[in-house]
Subunit: 132 residues, 2 copies
Amino acid sequence: MNSIVSMLRERGIQPTPQRMAVAEFIFGIKSHLSADQVLEQVRSKCPTISRATVYNTLNLLVEKKLLKAQVLKEGTVVFDSNVQQHHHFIDEETGEIYDIPWEALRVTGEKSLRNFRVRELQVILRGKRIKK
Amino acid sequence: MNSIVSMLRERGIQPTPQRMAVAEFIFGIKSHLSADQVLEQVRSKCPTISRATVYNTLNLLVEKKLLKAQVLKEGTVVFDSNVQQHHHFIDEETGEIYDIPWEALRVTGEKSLRNFRVRELQVILRGKRIKK
DNA sequence: TCTATATTTAGACATTGTCAAACATTTTTC
DNA sequence: GAAAAATGTTTGACAATGTCTAAATATAGA
Protein backbone atom coordinates (compact mmCIF):
# COMPACT_ATOMS: atom_id res chain seq x y z
CA MET A 1 0.00 0.00 0.00
CA ASN A 2 1.33 3.42 -1.00
CA SER A 3 2.69 5.11 2.11
CA ILE A 4 2.04 8.62 0.83
CA VAL A 5 -1.63 7.84 0.33
CA SER A 6 -1.96 6.77 3.97
CA MET A 7 0.13 9.72 5.11
CA LEU A 8 -2.33 12.10 3.48
CA ARG A 9 -5.41 10.20 4.63
CA GLU A 10 -4.18 10.18 8.25
CA ARG A 11 -4.29 13.97 8.15
CA GLY A 12 -7.68 14.07 6.47
CA ILE A 13 -6.38 15.03 3.04
CA GLN A 14 -8.07 13.44 0.04
CA PRO A 15 -5.33 11.99 -2.16
CA THR A 16 -6.34 13.41 -5.53
CA PRO A 17 -4.03 12.76 -8.49
CA GLN A 18 -2.75 16.34 -8.36
CA ARG A 19 -1.99 16.18 -4.64
CA MET A 20 -0.29 12.82 -5.02
CA ALA A 21 1.96 14.20 -7.74
CA VAL A 22 2.98 17.13 -5.53
CA ALA A 23 3.42 15.01 -2.39
CA GLU A 24 5.41 12.26 -4.12
CA PHE A 25 7.76 14.84 -5.53
CA ILE A 26 8.29 17.02 -2.45
CA PHE A 27 8.73 14.08 -0.05
CA GLY A 28 11.20 12.49 -2.44
CA ILE A 29 13.73 15.31 -2.37
CA LYS A 30 15.84 16.93 0.31
CA SER A 31 16.35 20.38 -1.23
CA HIS A 32 14.48 23.52 -0.32
CA LEU A 33 12.39 24.52 -3.34
CA SER A 34 9.96 27.32 -4.03
CA ALA A 35 6.39 26.60 -5.11
CA ASP A 36 7.19 27.51 -8.70
CA GLN A 37 10.20 25.21 -8.73
CA VAL A 38 7.95 22.43 -7.45
CA LEU A 39 5.41 23.28 -10.16
CA GLU A 40 8.04 23.01 -12.86
CA GLN A 41 9.16 19.58 -11.65
CA VAL A 42 5.68 18.22 -11.01
CA ARG A 43 4.53 19.26 -14.49
CA SER A 44 6.89 16.69 -16.00
CA LYS A 45 4.82 13.93 -14.33
CA CYS A 46 1.47 15.70 -14.47
CA PRO A 47 1.57 18.29 -17.27
CA THR A 48 -1.91 19.72 -16.81
CA ILE A 49 -1.68 20.63 -13.14
CA SER A 50 -2.23 24.32 -12.47
CA ARG A 51 -0.04 26.66 -10.54
CA ALA A 52 -2.76 27.40 -8.00
CA THR A 53 -3.19 23.72 -7.22
CA VAL A 54 0.50 23.35 -6.47
CA TYR A 55 0.34 26.38 -4.17
CA ASN A 56 -2.85 25.09 -2.52
CA THR A 57 -1.41 21.63 -2.00
CA LEU A 58 1.88 22.84 -0.56
CA ASN A 59 0.05 25.18 1.82
CA LEU A 60 -2.30 22.38 2.81
CA LEU A 61 0.64 20.10 3.61
CA VAL A 62 2.13 22.90 5.71
CA GLU A 63 -1.17 23.38 7.56
CA LYS A 64 -1.28 19.64 8.27
CA LYS A 65 2.32 19.72 9.55
CA LEU A 66 3.68 17.38 6.88
CA LEU A 67 5.82 20.17 5.45
CA LYS A 68 7.39 23.37 6.76
CA ALA A 69 7.43 26.70 4.97
CA GLN A 70 10.69 28.53 5.55
CA VAL A 71 11.48 32.21 4.95
CA LEU A 72 15.10 31.90 3.87
CA LYS A 73 15.30 33.33 0.36
CA GLU A 74 14.50 36.80 -0.89
CA GLY A 75 11.19 37.00 -2.66
CA THR A 76 9.95 33.49 -2.03
CA VAL A 77 9.07 30.96 0.61
CA VAL A 78 10.77 27.57 0.31
CA PHE A 79 9.29 24.26 1.41
CA ASP A 80 11.19 21.89 3.65
CA SER A 81 10.22 18.23 4.02
CA ASN A 82 12.29 18.12 7.19
CA VAL A 83 9.77 19.15 9.84
CA GLN A 84 12.07 18.44 12.79
CA GLN A 85 13.72 21.35 14.56
CA HIS A 86 16.93 22.32 12.80
CA HIS A 87 19.01 25.28 11.70
CA HIS A 88 19.97 26.54 8.25
CA PHE A 89 23.15 27.58 6.50
CA ILE A 90 22.88 29.68 3.35
CA ASP A 91 25.74 29.83 0.87
CA GLU A 92 25.94 33.51 -0.04
CA GLU A 93 27.47 32.80 -3.46
CA THR A 94 25.13 30.10 -4.71
CA GLY A 95 22.04 30.71 -2.60
CA GLU A 96 22.07 27.01 -1.75
CA ILE A 97 20.44 26.15 1.60
CA TYR A 98 21.86 23.44 3.88
CA ASP A 99 20.26 21.88 6.94
CA ILE A 100 22.28 22.10 10.15
CA PRO A 101 21.32 19.46 12.73
CA TRP A 102 19.68 20.79 15.87
CA GLU A 103 22.41 19.27 18.05
CA ALA A 104 25.22 21.00 16.17
CA LEU A 105 24.50 24.36 17.79
CA ARG A 106 23.42 25.54 21.19
CA VAL A 107 21.40 28.67 21.83
CA THR A 108 20.96 30.01 25.34
CA GLY A 109 19.31 33.06 26.81
CA GLU A 110 15.91 32.95 25.13
CA LYS A 111 14.25 31.88 28.39
CA SER A 112 15.28 35.16 30.02
CA LEU A 113 13.70 37.37 27.39
CA ARG A 114 11.10 39.51 29.11
CA ASN A 115 8.01 40.33 27.02
CA PHE A 116 8.49 37.50 24.54
CA ARG A 117 6.99 34.01 24.65
CA VAL A 118 9.21 32.02 22.25
CA ARG A 119 7.45 29.14 20.46
CA GLU A 120 10.30 28.18 18.16
CA LEU A 121 13.70 29.42 17.15
CA GLN A 122 16.37 28.68 14.63
CA VAL A 123 19.82 29.95 13.79
CA ILE A 124 20.41 31.25 10.28
CA LEU A 125 24.06 31.09 9.26
CA ARG A 126 25.44 32.73 6.14
CA GLY A 127 28.81 32.28 4.53
CA LYS A 128 30.61 30.02 2.13
CA ARG A 129 30.30 26.28 1.94
CA ILE A 130 33.73 24.71 1.67
CA LYS A 131 34.07 22.07 -1.01
CA LYS A 132 35.32 18.94 0.62
CA MET B 1 25.40 70.75 9.34
CA ASN B 2 22.92 68.00 8.48
CA SER B 3 24.36 64.71 9.68
CA ILE B 4 22.58 62.65 7.05
CA VAL B 5 24.14 64.68 4.27
CA SER B 6 27.63 63.98 5.59
CA MET B 7 26.75 60.34 6.21
CA LEU B 8 25.86 59.93 2.53
CA ARG B 9 28.83 61.94 1.28
CA GLU B 10 31.25 59.89 3.37
CA ARG B 11 30.13 56.86 1.40
CA GLY B 12 30.31 58.64 -1.92
CA ILE B 13 26.56 59.02 -2.34
CA GLN B 14 25.34 62.31 -3.84
CA PRO B 15 22.65 63.63 -1.51
CA THR B 16 19.91 64.39 -4.01
CA PRO B 17 16.54 65.57 -2.66
CA GLN B 18 14.99 62.17 -3.36
CA ARG B 19 17.79 60.28 -1.60
CA MET B 20 17.60 62.67 1.33
CA ALA B 21 13.87 62.09 1.66
CA VAL B 22 14.36 58.32 1.71
CA ALA B 23 17.37 58.46 4.05
CA GLU B 24 15.79 60.89 6.50
CA PHE B 25 12.73 58.70 6.71
CA ILE B 26 14.42 55.31 7.03
CA PHE B 27 17.06 56.48 9.54
CA GLY B 28 14.36 58.16 11.59
CA ILE B 29 12.36 55.02 12.35
CA LYS B 30 13.12 51.80 14.14
CA SER B 31 10.61 49.53 12.41
CA HIS B 32 11.39 47.09 9.64
CA LEU B 33 9.58 48.26 6.51
CA SER B 34 9.36 46.98 2.94
CA ALA B 35 10.37 49.16 -0.01
CA ASP B 36 6.74 49.81 -0.92
CA GLN B 37 5.93 50.83 2.65
CA VAL B 38 8.88 53.24 2.55
CA LEU B 39 7.60 54.59 -0.78
CA GLU B 40 4.18 55.23 0.68
CA GLN B 41 5.59 57.14 3.65
CA VAL B 42 8.20 59.10 1.70
CA ARG B 43 5.56 60.22 -0.81
CA SER B 44 3.90 62.29 1.92
CA LYS B 45 7.04 64.45 2.10
CA CYS B 46 8.05 64.16 -1.53
CA PRO B 47 4.96 63.28 -3.57
CA THR B 48 6.62 63.00 -6.97
CA ILE B 49 9.28 60.44 -6.08
CA SER B 50 9.07 57.29 -8.20
CA ARG B 51 8.98 53.71 -7.05
CA ALA B 52 12.19 52.90 -8.92
CA THR B 53 14.06 55.67 -7.11
CA VAL B 54 12.99 54.39 -3.70
CA TYR B 55 14.10 50.87 -4.64
CA ASN B 56 17.37 52.20 -6.10
CA THR B 57 18.11 54.34 -3.06
CA LEU B 58 17.38 51.61 -0.53
CA ASN B 59 19.54 49.16 -2.44
CA LEU B 60 22.31 51.75 -2.70
CA LEU B 61 22.22 52.34 1.07
CA VAL B 62 22.46 48.59 1.58
CA GLU B 63 25.40 48.34 -0.79
CA LYS B 64 27.14 51.16 1.11
CA LYS B 65 26.48 49.40 4.44
CA LEU B 66 24.29 52.14 5.87
CA LEU B 67 21.27 49.82 5.86
CA LYS B 68 20.73 46.09 6.07
CA ALA B 69 18.24 44.12 4.00
CA GLN B 70 16.68 41.36 6.07
CA VAL B 71 14.78 38.29 4.89
CA LEU B 72 12.25 38.02 7.69
CA LYS B 73 8.83 38.38 6.08
CA GLU B 74 7.19 36.24 3.44
CA GLY B 75 7.14 37.85 0.05
CA THR B 76 9.27 40.89 0.76
CA VAL B 77 12.61 42.07 2.02
CA VAL B 78 12.53 44.55 4.91
CA PHE B 79 15.09 47.25 5.56
CA ASP B 80 16.74 47.63 8.94
CA SER B 81 18.55 50.80 9.96
CA ASN B 82 20.25 48.86 12.73
CA VAL B 83 23.37 47.52 11.01
CA GLN B 84 24.96 46.14 14.18
CA GLN B 85 24.81 42.39 14.78
CA HIS B 86 21.54 41.48 16.46
CA HIS B 87 18.78 38.88 16.48
CA HIS B 88 15.09 39.12 15.59
CA PHE B 89 11.85 38.12 17.21
CA ILE B 90 8.74 37.86 15.02
CA ASP B 91 5.27 38.03 16.54
CA GLU B 92 3.37 35.27 14.77
CA GLU B 93 0.01 36.98 15.24
CA THR B 94 0.84 40.50 14.13
CA GLY B 95 3.89 39.92 11.94
CA GLU B 96 5.66 42.65 13.92
CA ILE B 97 9.44 42.31 14.04
CA TYR B 98 11.44 43.16 17.18
CA ASP B 99 15.20 43.54 17.54
CA ILE B 100 16.85 41.33 20.14
CA PRO B 101 20.21 42.67 21.36
CA TRP B 102 23.23 40.59 20.42
CA GLU B 103 24.16 40.12 24.09
CA ALA B 104 20.77 38.69 25.03
CA LEU B 105 21.51 35.33 23.42
CA ARG B 106 24.51 33.10 23.10
CA VAL B 107 25.13 30.76 20.20
CA THR B 108 27.86 28.16 20.36
CA GLY B 109 28.99 25.36 18.09
CA GLU B 110 29.27 27.19 14.76
CA LYS B 111 33.08 27.08 14.93
CA SER B 112 33.00 23.30 14.83
CA LEU B 113 30.94 23.05 11.65
CA ARG B 114 32.99 21.22 9.07
CA ASN B 115 32.51 22.36 5.47
CA PHE B 116 31.01 25.74 6.36
CA ARG B 117 32.80 29.07 6.72
CA VAL B 118 30.35 31.21 8.69
CA ARG B 119 30.50 34.96 7.94
CA GLU B 120 27.49 35.99 10.01
CA LEU B 121 24.67 34.44 11.94
CA GLN B 122 21.50 35.45 13.68
CA VAL B 123 18.81 33.76 15.71
CA ILE B 124 15.24 34.09 14.49
CA LEU B 125 12.71 33.64 17.27
CA ARG B 126 8.98 33.28 16.68
CA GLY B 127 6.15 33.43 19.16
CA LYS B 128 3.94 35.90 20.90
CA ARG B 129 5.00 39.24 22.27
CA ILE B 130 3.60 39.70 25.76
CA LYS B 131 1.97 43.04 26.40
CA LYS B 132 3.61 44.57 29.40
C1' DT C 1 28.02 78.44 -20.76
C1' DC C 2 28.84 74.00 -22.74
C1' DT C 3 29.63 69.25 -22.17
C1' DA C 4 29.99 65.02 -19.86
C1' DT C 5 28.25 62.43 -16.23
C1' DA C 6 24.91 61.09 -12.88
C1' DT C 7 20.16 60.61 -11.45
C1' DT C 8 15.25 60.17 -11.86
C1' DT C 9 11.23 58.70 -14.04
C1' DA C 10 7.30 56.08 -16.17
C1' DG C 11 6.22 52.18 -17.81
C1' DA C 12 7.20 47.38 -19.43
C1' DC C 13 8.32 43.08 -17.79
C1' DA C 14 9.09 38.91 -14.77
C1' DT C 15 8.05 36.43 -10.72
C1' DT C 16 5.46 35.19 -6.57
C1' DG C 17 1.23 34.58 -4.41
C1' DT C 18 -4.11 34.89 -3.69
C1' DC C 19 -8.99 34.66 -4.85
C1' DA C 20 -13.68 34.01 -6.67
C1' DA C 21 -15.86 31.22 -9.63
C1' DA C 22 -16.09 26.97 -12.26
C1' DC C 23 -15.93 22.26 -11.78
C1' DA C 24 -16.06 17.69 -9.60
C1' DT C 25 -17.25 14.70 -5.97
C1' DT C 26 -19.76 13.11 -2.08
C1' DT C 27 -23.86 13.04 0.67
C1' DT C 28 -28.67 13.50 1.37
C1' DT C 29 -33.33 13.09 0.09
C1' DC C 30 -36.90 10.95 -2.00
C1' DG D 1 -30.98 4.41 -7.78
C1' DA D 2 -31.61 9.40 -9.62
C1' DA D 3 -31.85 14.22 -8.55
C1' DA D 4 -30.66 17.89 -5.58
C1' DA D 5 -27.80 19.90 -2.18
C1' DA D 6 -23.61 20.37 0.17
C1' DT D 7 -18.93 19.96 0.21
C1' DG D 8 -14.37 19.79 -1.70
C1' DT D 9 -11.01 20.75 -5.53
C1' DT D 10 -9.03 23.02 -9.41
C1' DT D 11 -8.34 26.84 -12.25
C1' DG D 12 -7.52 31.32 -14.84
C1' DA D 13 -7.40 35.92 -13.77
C1' DC D 14 -5.71 39.23 -10.83
C1' DA D 15 -2.67 41.78 -7.29
C1' DA D 16 1.89 42.67 -5.20
C1' DT D 17 6.89 42.76 -5.28
C1' DG D 18 10.93 43.71 -7.63
C1' DT D 19 13.99 44.67 -11.89
C1' DC D 20 15.13 46.77 -16.14
C1' DT D 21 15.27 50.15 -20.00
C1' DA D 22 15.22 54.22 -22.47
C1' DA D 23 14.16 58.85 -22.28
C1' DA D 24 14.09 63.04 -19.63
C1' DT D 25 16.16 65.78 -16.18
C1' DA D 26 19.63 67.50 -13.09
C1' DT D 27 24.36 68.20 -11.66
C1' DA D 28 29.39 68.94 -11.84
C1' DG D 29 33.54 70.32 -14.12
C1' DA D 30 36.13 72.70 -17.73
